[in-house]
């Protein structure tokens, strides 16, 4: 693995189903993030994790949950998918220590295109 990976690449899901989007990084970054990107709205932060074992809510957390059991993995779970969760989901990571910003240079994964019918 080189960088940050996401799985699946794309998924079509029936409304009401549970879905977990996977994200793994091998850069030993302490911070990780989940965004959703919708046309005309840009990227919006769903959840973040500043270090393993901690998570926080972003701008649009409702309907989503995350966990950060270790440094490398940051899965995003939709407990009961709804059509409004149709979007492209990006995972990102950063090394918080290299600047004073909580959101340092973010490295993005390739994205997961999710369609909820």
């Amino acid at each position: 693995i080189a960088g940050i990976t996401q799985a699946p690449t794309s998924q079509i899901l029936a409304a009401g189903r549970r879905m977990t989007l996977r994200c793994t990084q091998d850069m030993r970054h302490n911070a990780m993030y989940w965004y959703r990107q919708d046309l005309g709205l840009g990227l919006r932060l769903i959840h973040y994790s500043n270090t393993a074992g901690t998570t926080g809510k972003g701008e649009v957390p409702d309907g989503y949950s995350v966990s950060r059991a270790n440094t490398d993995d940051f899965p995003l779970t939709l407990a009961s998918a709804v059509p409004s969760q149709t979007s492209v989901y990006f995972c990102a990571s950063s090394d918080k220590s290299s600047t004073g910003s909580s959101y340092n240079e973010q490295f993005f994964g390739p994205g997961t295109r999710l369609t909820v019918l």
């Binding site: 004073g100 973010q106 490295f107």
Partner: protein, 110 residues
């Protein structure tokens, strides 16, 4: 909370210059700039921190007016490879949040 970007779209000929602006209603700790090409992930260009520190790639320049909560990205002598959508991202001084703007579509034509 979402920063406002302007213009929404711009078309340039190779070699021309462009400025993209980003404005926030909140006091900011940092401003970030990313470029995203169609069907790809966003790629980091620059971070500007309160107090004047900057970190970014060569050939990219930007400014950050802390008092006005505004930032501008300067693209000079544009190349075809500059085409894409540019997003500013803002980190407010409080709250541990991050907000991307809605993007500026930049097209460079020969």
């Amino acid at each position: 909370q979402q920063p406002v970007q302007s213009p929404q779209a711009v078309i340039l000929r190779e070699g021309e210059d462009a400025v993209i602006n980003c404005s926030s209603s909140k006091a900011l700790y940092s401003v970030h700039w990313y470029r995203q090409k169609h069907g790809e992930a966003p790629v980091f260009l620059m971070i500007l921190l309160k107090g004047g520190e900057q970190k970014g790639h060569d050939k990219i320049s930007a400014s950050f007016n802390e008092k006005k909560q505004q930032s501008s990205l300067y693209l000079t002598a544009s190349q075809l490879s500059y085409s894409g959508t540019y997003f500013c991202g803002t980190e407010p001084s409080t709250g541990n949040q991050f907000y991307f703007g809605t993007g500026t579509s930049l097209t460079v034509i020969p």
